[in-house]
Symmetry: C2
Subunit: 344 residues, 2 copies
C-alpha cells in the first residue's frame, strides 16, 4: 500500500452531507476550499501529538484517533465556535493496516458526531506524530476570548478536573501511592484516553460567558493565561473546590495534596474554565442544562491593583488568591501549582 | 526557557499591518479568528516535514524555516489563492536557542514577504518535526482545481524542474556519476533548500488556466494526479522538454537518462504544472510576464477514449503519451517515471 492508496483507503470520504454548503472542495487537491456565511469568522487551532510524549507506545489506536481530534475540538469549544473541518498530518513509522483501520475509525467517528469534515492532510514516514488543524466558525464578535474576563466575574469550571492526571499517576505509580479500585481506574483512564470536547457548552455560553479557555495544561496554569490576557487577578475557594462536583469521587478520595495536584495541575481533562458576570448566574445554569454539561462555580475575578508597572504600560503578573471557605488565605502545595511544560 | 517563553520570544509578533482586517485575533488564544470578505473562499493545506525524511540532520535552520513555509505556500499558489495566515506545530528534541533564532528568521522573512500571518501553533518535545497549515483566500469559483483540465488544453510548467533532484543526487553520490562544478552545485542546492513558491503566477493564472498542481512529488506523477482528477490523457513532447527552458543548463548537461529522471521524477522544485486552453496562449504569456515567472509549454491534454470502464462509471487509468518531436512514441526510462512514495 503506497502513500496515496493509504489516504484513499483510510481517510478519503465523500463530503459530510451536513457540510456540503461549507466545503466547496474536500481533500484530493492542493488545497481544500471552504466557504463561510457572511458575518461568521473562522476559528483555527492546531495541536501536535507525539508518541512517548502525549501518549504511550501501544495506546489503543481507536482511542488515539478520538483523542487527537478531541483535543483540537476542545479549542473550538473554548472559543464558542462550531466545528467545520480539519486537516490531519500523520508521520507513521510503517504502514500498519490494523492500526490505521482503528485509528481512522476513532478519528472519523468523533468527526462525524460533530459534523467536522476531514478536508486535507499529509502522510509521511517518521516517528509516530499526529498534527491536526481544526477550523470552526463563530459569529463575528461572539467568540469567548481569553482576554475578556472582567473584575467581578464569577469563575466556573465544567465537568470534573483532575481525572486524567489521576489516571496518569496511577499508571506510573511504583509505590502504590495512587492505588485505585479497578472500576475507579477504568473510569479515570476513560477520561484520559477519550476526553469529551465541551462543544455544546461552548456554544451555549456565547453571549453569556466573558472569557473561556480549555483546561489542557492544568487548571491553575490555564487560569493564569486568562488572568494575564485580561489583566485581572482571581480568588479561588480551595476548600469548596475540594468538596465541589468539579472533583470526581475518585479524585476527592485522595489525600489532600494529591487531590489538589490532580485538580490544579492536572490538565488533559479538556474541561472549560470560564468567567461570566454575577448577573448571568441564571443564564450559566441554563446554558449548562441546555448543553447537558455540569458546571461548578469556583471563585471570582478581582481587579488588579494599579501599580508602577501597569502605569508604565507593563503588565503586572496576575495573582490567584487561594482561600478557605471564610476567605482566609490558603497556600496550595507547590506541586499543585506546577503547570505542565514540555521542555521542563 | 519554557514552552510559553519560547513561543513568545521566537514566534509571537503583532499582527501584520496588512492583515489587520482579516486577522481578528492572532496567536495567544485557544484559536485564532480570521475574517473573509464576502464572495471569497478559504483555501487550506497542510504539510509535515520530518528530519531525516524531508531534510537532512544539520540542515541550515534558516533555510529550513523558509522551506517549511514555502512548500505550503506552493499549495496556495497551485490553487491561485492569496496567502492569509498559517499555523506552525513544532516538535523539538531540545530548546536550541541559536537554532530557533535562525529557523524563525527564515520562516518569518518568507511569511512577511507574502503577508502571511503566523496565527497559532503548538510546541512540544519530540523528534524534529514541522507541521504547517496554511490558509489563503480565493474568489469563489476562481480556484485552479486539479479536476478542471480539458481535452485540447496545453500543458505548461513554470520555471525549471529537476534541479532539486539533481542537488539531492549530487549530495548522495558515491560513484561520481552526478559530479557537478561547484557553481552548479551551489545553484541546484539553492533550488532544493530555498524553493520559490509561485504565488504571483498562481494569482495571474486565475481566469486563464484551467487546472494546476504544484510539482512536489515529480512532474510525471503530479501530471497523473491532474489527469486522473480530470479524466483525461496527455501527450508530452519529451525531446522538446529536454531542450526547453524548463530544464536548467545543469540538468540538461546530464546524460539523457539522468536528465529525464531529474525532470520527470524529481519533485521538490515547487514549480506549477498547469493546463490552459490553446486560445489562451497569449494570456498565459502575459500572466507569466506579469508574474515575472518563465513558463514552458510542454504538451497537451487529450480526451480519454470511451471504454467499458468509464461507461460503467469507473475511472479509466489516465495515460501519458511521451513522444519525440515528430509525435512518435518514446518510452522514458522506468526510473524517470517513479513518483516519490514515502512508504516505498
Amino acid at each position: 500500500m503506497n502513500e496515496f492508496e493509504l489516504i484513499d483507503h483510510y481517510f478519503r470520504r465523500p463530503v459530510l452531507p451536513g457540510r456540503r454548503r461549507e466545503i466547496a472542495l474536500g481533500n484530493g487537491d492542493d488545497c481544500a476550499l471552504l466557504s463561510l456565511p457572511p458575518g461568521q469568522q473562522l476559528a483555527v487551532s492546531t495541536d501536535m501529538l507525539v508518541e512517548g510524549r502525549h501518549f504511550l507506545p501501544g495506546t489503543d489506536p481507536e482511542a488515539l484517533g478520538h483523542k487527537a481530534l478531541a483535543v483540537n475540538l476542545s479549542d473550538l469549544a473554548a472559543m464558542g465556535a462550531e466545528p467545520l473541518a480539519f486537516t490531519l498530518a500523520l508521520a507513521l513509522p510503517r504502514v500498519d493496516e490494523q492500526w490505521l483501520d482503528r485509528f481512522s475509525s476513532g478519528l472519523l467517528a468523533l468527526a462525524d458526531a460533530h459534523q467536522c469534515a476531514l478536508v486535507g492532510g499529509d502522510t509521511t514516514a517518521g516517528p509516530l506524530t499526529l498534527c491536526i488543524t481544526v477550523m470552526g466558525r463563530v459569529p463575528a464578535g461572539a467568540a469567548l476570548a481569553r482576554h475578556a474576563a472582567k473584575a467581578g466575574d464569577d469563575v466556573y469550571v465544567s465537568g470534573t478536573v483532575g481525572d486524567a492526571r489521576l489516571a496518569l499517576e496511577a499508571h506510573r505509580d511504583g509505590q502504590g501511592c495512587w492505588q485505585l479500585r479497578p472500576e475507579a481506574l477504568q473510569r479515570v483512564c476513560l477520561r484520559m484516553d477519550r476526553p469529551t470536547p465541551r462543544l455544546a457548552l461552548g456554544l451555549a455560553l456565547r453571549g453569556v460567558a466573558h472569557a473561556a479557555i480549555d483546561v489542557s495544561d492544568g487548571m491553575a496554569g490555564d487560569l493564569l493565561h486568562v488572568l494575564r490576557a485580561s489583566a485581572v487577578d482571581a480568588e479561588i475557594d480551595l476548600e469548596s473546590l475540594l468538596e465541589s462536583p468539579a472533583l470526581s469521587d475518585d479524585v476527592r478520595a485522595l489525600p489532600r495534596e494529591q487531590a489538589l495536584t490532580c485538580a490544579l495541575a492536572g490538565g488533559d481533562d479538556y474541561e472549560l474554565l470560564f468567567t461570566a458576570p454575577a448577573s448571568a448566574r441564571g443564564a450559566v445554569v441554563a446554558a449548562a442544562a441546555a448543553a447537558r454539561t455540569p458546571v461548578t462555580r469556583i471563585g471570582r475575578i478581582r481587579p488588579q491593583p494599579g501599580s508602577v508597572l501597569s502605569a508604565a504600560g507593563l503588565a503586572a503578573p496576575p495573582r490567584v488568591f487561594w482561600t478557605d471557605r471564610q476567605g482566609r488565605p490558603v497556600q496550595p502545595p507547590a506541586r499543585a501549582l506546577a503547570s505542565f511544560d514540555h521542555f521542563a
